[in-house]
Amino acid sequence: MIDNLMLGIETAVSPENLLWCAVGVVLGTLIGLMPGLGSATGVAILLPVTLTMEPVTALIMLAGIYYGSQYGASTSSILISTPGDSSSVVLTLDGYRMARNGRAGAALAISAISSFIAAIISLMVLLALAAPVASWALNFGPPETLAIILLGMATIVTFAGENMLRGIIMAAAGLLLAMIGTASGFTTARFTFGSMNLLSGLEFVAVMIGIFAIGEVVHQIHRGGEKPIRARLRDLMLTKDEAKRILPPALRGTFLGTALGVLPGAGATLASFMSYGLEGRVSKHRKELGSGAVEGVAAPEASNNAAANSSFIPTLALGIPGSGTTAILLGAFVIFGLQPGPMLFEQQPDLVWGLLVSFFFGNLLLLVLNLPLAPVFAQVLRIPYSYLYPIIIVLSMVGAYAVGNSMFAVWVVFFAGALGYFMKRYGFPAAPLVLGLVLGPMLERSLVQTSSMGHGNLLIVFERPLSAFFMVLAILAFVGPPLLGVINRRRERSRQEKAATPA
């Protein structure tokens, strides 16, 4: 392992590689800042630019774009509630709230620091355990994935807000939206009403931009808007108390993200939602969640970065991408004539370890860039909202177009924007809807696959030890909180009765 590390450092610190790593993270950050443009689009769009480079250098730069754009996406989620990536949707809850409370600089700093912590820890895991972890991850077939997604759905309770039943209904509505298009495993076109554009479903990014960015903008106008935030530079810095609160949630998020990122396809989004849900259960400050809590930024941000890193584990070690973005990177490997898989570690050790070690420098650079830049980025909020919101609308529309070069996506943004506005105005929560929309295709796919595997018998999820384990967890997560609620209420009532009798 030490040899590999040395080899990696040797490759990664060549001036050329460092330069392109830097270019990658800076470009990535810039792309991530654009509404709707996330890591997958960023890597895909810039892939052709790297074709003339050495394979190692090109891959280092592409990976830099990957995690750089995750930083950028978080920044735009926090500042203007406009997620660039589905994995930064959660940041529109507490991150955006913090920014609106005048703590934008702090929120950005928390996000940068927790990302860095997560990146470094998950990188260690990647360096030390890539091969064994990857082959272990193969044990996760469709039934296991199904169980994990159900476990993830249980976390919606945290996002459901004031009215839990309504939150759950919204999540189900999100699932319904996800069913538009050709059903996984079938050729039946559902809810497309003859539209060809809908055959492959609603472009998730477009719906997300519409609901969050456009919906929020118009809702601000309806409400009379927030005042421009004229925080002093001092207020933009992290306070001691805030700094102290970063580490525990960041570590929990890292753990969850690293674990979920390894699983093929499970992904950073699920990880970020679940880690937010986890904070809602275990954090000391869970009551502040949703009102701008440090934990609500640190945990999801750490977990989505950790997941991004650990999605490289199956990609490199097995040649099986762990996320949409690594799938595109896998395409890049093929273009360069490389075949990811166990053989890659033996045949091209300098490339593999050089790439991995470059993550370290890339993330360090991002931290160094983002910490001082956080207050600068936060200045965006000083722009009067009258000027800011037209800019958000323009960039959202262009960003949505750029994802698939499709005008249809722009129309989806428009209608989703109207929907998002009405939802915000009348108090129908958006986060569960988005969670349903993200998880819907995965849920249905694994359900159908499980059904095929069991020849129609779904109960095989309980026959396989791993999936049974996660199913039990999921059931506990669904049933536990309401049950606890009943018990607590009983206890509360009896206490009140006791208190009432003497008085």
Binding site: N163, M164, L165, R223, K424, P481, G485
Partner: protein, 210 residues
């Protein structure tokens, strides 16, 4: 953060119309999903899950849950915003209530904005009264719609820049020079980033310039 101390606000016995209508719409959507889903085939040939399985189950769930919710809205008595799973999870929901209020600014902002609306003349940060605001929202969507339709004619970037100018001049009533400068700056920035750097083939419209 101060809102979290408000916690549970007293609720009127009569539910808000928006709540009932919104939930009703969801129920109808669920019903549509069930009906259409049955058409797609609930189960496959050999008892396997069919393409209609998820639409039907999800739709049915939405119908039942929405009806429960509407019933709850009417039956909920004063005092408690008792919610969720037949009122099983009071504690959690009360806790979440505090969170939610400040999270989306929904309830909290509703309560905050109601007095302002009643005063009527009070200006917001945009310098608009409540009445003007009510008109602004449909106006923005109209301008946006116009811009999207205009895209076919003059191309996406020009249409969106024009839209921005229109928003600034007509809706926000900003001075001409800064509005033009801001729109032009956004146009140039978007062109450089999307067209030059990322090579995105944005629609050029019939003019075919940008």
């Amino acid at each position: 953060m101060t809102e979290s101390t408000i916690g549970v606000t007293p609720r009127r016995t009569k539910p808000k119309t928006s709540d009932v209508v919104g939930t009703g719409i969801l129920a109808v959507l669920g019903l549509v999903a069930v009906i259409m889903g049955l058409g797609y085939g609930f189960l496959g040939e050999d008892g396997q899950i069919g393409p209609g399985f998820m639409p039907v189950t999800t739709g049915a769930f939405i119908v039942i849950a929405s009806l429960t919710e509407i019933a709850r809205l009417y039956l909920a008595r004063d005092g408690h915003a008792s919610a969720g799973l037949g009122g099983l999870a009071d504690e959690l929901s009360a806790e979440a209530a505090a969170v939610q209020k400040s999270a989306h600014g929904e309830s909290a902002d509703d309560t905050a904005s109601t007095p302002a609306e009643e005063k009527g003349e009070e200006l917001d940060t945009f310098g608009r009264t409540a009445k003007q605001r009510a008109r602004t929202v449909p106006l923005i969507f109209a301008v946006l719609l116009a811009a999207l339709l205009l895209t076919q004619l003059i191309g996406m970037l020009l249409a969106l820049a024009t839209m921005m100018l229109a928003l600034l001049l007509v809706i926000e009533r900003k001075p001409v020079l800064p509005s033009v400068l801001a729109s032009a700056a956004v146009l140039v920035a978007a062109y450089l980033i999307f067209v030059q750097m990322l090579g995105v083939p944005l629609p050029q419209g019939l003019l075919g310039i940008l």
